[in-house]
């Protein structure tokens, strides 16, 4: 453990769940990935399912998720995480299986895998971290990049005439019969982090029921790619991301019947 990275006077937090390895995150300061990692692993710890959980890491900034998440994991090819998760779940149906994917991974190169995984109703959890950009490769435009947003491949801002509109893939897959529980959350304030935690807990509990895919989008940030300070990204999320990617549950199962329906206004 490279504890020396943080000098004692700078240490504000030294308590990680057993489900995290303790390896310091390599993420840029203020990046949402670290928060999502921590909440996800806290939930796995609190549910006591660390030994029964198998994760799939994506290609993107979180490619090394398995350095931090202390569960058995497989590293997938770019966009294929949900297909790899399918393979694992099909042969280990008694385990909890999740994939962790970025927007470039899940909604660009992996669109086919994403749609078909949910359409088959694979009994896995997909954690989709949407920061509206290709963070890892230097801030290129993603399918989820907002109109007007400047990226290295849309230097004058995205415009829909030639670049299409930001893809709401979560709403898209929610319409598929295989989708059991679909929600969109965020991590830019403690309130939202707590809500995400509840949703992730629910999703793992639903996986036990074997009724279809749970899909949780997390609206996140990329200070480096957005060329904003971490604090500025909070404002950007509130003012620009959330109006287009509204938070809340999108598809929920009925407690009694177990049948999932789309939540109105979505």
């Amino acid at each position: 453990m490279e504890k020396t990275l943080v000098s004692p006077e700078c240490l504000v937090y030294d308590n990680h769940p057993e489900t995290l390895t303790g390896t310091p995150f390599h993420y840029c300061p203020g990046c949402g990935h670290g928060v999502v990692h921590k909440v996800l692993m806290e939930v796995i710890g609190e549910l006591g399912i660390q030994e029964e959980t198998i994760g799939v890491a994506p290609v993107g900034c979180s490619v090394f998720a398995y350095h931090y998440m202390n569960v058995d994991m497989q590293e997938a090819a770019h966009g294929r995480a949900s297909a790899v998760a399918t393979g694992i779940k099909r042969v280990r149906p008694d385990k909890y299986v999740f994939s962790y994917q970025g927007d470039g991974d899940l909604a660009a190169i992996g669109t086919a895998e994403t749609i078909h995984t949910v359409n088959r109703g694979e009994n896995i959890l997909v954690v989709f971290v949407n920061n509206a950009i290709y963070g890892m490769t230097g801030g290129q435009m993603a399918p989820t990049t907002l109109i007007g947003m400047k990226t290295s491949t849309s230097p004058y801002g995205r415009e829909s005439a030639t670049m299409g509109s930001p893809l709401k893939i979560t709403e898209l897959i929610a319409n598929l019969p295989g989708a059991y529980y679909v929600a969109r959350h965020a991590v830019h304030s403690p309130k939202y982090v707590r809500m995400l935690k509840k949703a992730l807990t629910k999703a793992f509990e639903y996986q036990k029921l074997n009724r279809g895919t749970c899909f949780i989008e997390v609206v996140s940030n990329c200070p480096s790619g957005w060329k904003l300070t971490p604090v500025q990204t909070v404002g950007f999320i509130e003012e620009n991301m959330l109006p287009y990617f509204p938070l809340g549950e999108i598809k929920v199962p009925d407690e009694k019947t177990g049948i999932s329906t789309l939540v109105k206004n979505n």
Binding site: I54, N70, M73, E75, A83, V84, I88, K89
Partner: protein
């Protein structure tokens, strides 16, 4: 999906035909790099492009030279009968698990649709144990298991490559081939799969005419019978490679014999199957 299932420690396989196998090349490279045992079947059709659905051997290069990115090898088996198709499923998994490497059965559209009597192995399935490296859930008594092909430091990545290359060298001991009338042969035909089956007939026809023709049929295309061909080229100075492609395995035969023999080629492409008579005609006009 095969990556996930194999990584979770079970036996996994998939099958396809040429264009579908082209699509799988990304996965083959990752599976080879992550050292996952699995079996893939390519029942080859005529290409390039969408091509034709007729039988071909045009995917030899893709099978034995890679196909996906990076330095990797598949174990490649080339059956020539339906019985061998069955046997190669068992051999494929046995070798894949022994070397933690993907195995490929390279067949063609004719073999794939052929009906012949087969005997299934009396002992049934091969025994299988969940490997210790598999992602089965991290129990308290062990460290996490990670299946990955990402080794970001070049020193580490070179180490992985060195390890893979050593494994491919060790696989040379698994080389398999079949020889027909090679002892007194003055001309040697080298062919695999369906072409080899046709060439059996060519050997008969040639022998009837007094031509001392023999046949070497590689059963494993990787590892390739390099040493045997090198040895034979001391004695047999004329060889011909017959393939249902534009000339792919012929390059490996030329490399193996290293200029010691004349190596001619006869091939049909695009789903056409050569007849024994046209092959014999080629031998009679070009090698005698």
């Amino acid at each position: 999906m095969v990556y996930g299932a194999a990584g979770a420690g079970t036996r996994a396989m998939t099958s396809s035909s040429s264009p579908g196998f082209s699509l799988m090349q990304e996965g083959m490279s990752y599976i080879a790099a992550a050292e996952l045992p699995c079996l893939v079947v390519n029942v080859t059709r005529g290409g390039p492009g969408l091509g034709t659905i007729q039988p071909s051997q045009g995917d030899y290069f893709q099978a034995v030279k890679g196909g996906g990115h990076g330095d990797y090898k598949l174990i490649v088996l080339a059956p020539a009968s339906v019985q061998e198709m069955v046997d190669s499923v068992f051999d494929g998994f046995r070798l894949a698990e022994k070397y933690r490497n993907p195995a490929l059965i390279l067949a063609d559209g004719a073999l794939g649709q052929m009906m012949e009597k087969v005997e299934l192995p009396a002992e049934g399935s091969l025994p299988h144990e969940t490997p210790s490296w598999a992602t089965t859930g991290k129990s308290k008594d062990r460290e996490q298991n990670v299946v990955t092909s990402l080794f970001i430091q070049p020193e580490k990545m070179e180490g992985i490559n060195t390890h893979l290359q050593a494994k491919y060298t060790a696989m040379q001991s698994e080389v398999r081939y079949e020889e027909t009338m090679v002892e007194d042969a003055e001309i040697l035909v080298v062919a695999f799969g369906l072409s080899a089956r046709i060439c059996m007939k060519v050997v008969d026809l040639a022998r009837e005419k007094g031509i001392k023709l023999g046949l070497l049929r590689p059963i494993t295309l990787f590892p390739f019978p390099v040493a045997r061909l090198f040895e034979l080229s001391d004695r047999i100075k004329k060889m011909i490679v017959v393939e249902m492609n534009a000339g792919q395995m012929v390059e490996d035969v030329r490399l193996s014999t290293n200029g010691k023999s004349v190596v001619e080629f006869y091939g049909r492409m695009g789903g056409m199957i050569p007849t024994p008579e046209e092959i014999l005609h080629k031998i009679e006009t070009d090698l005698i």
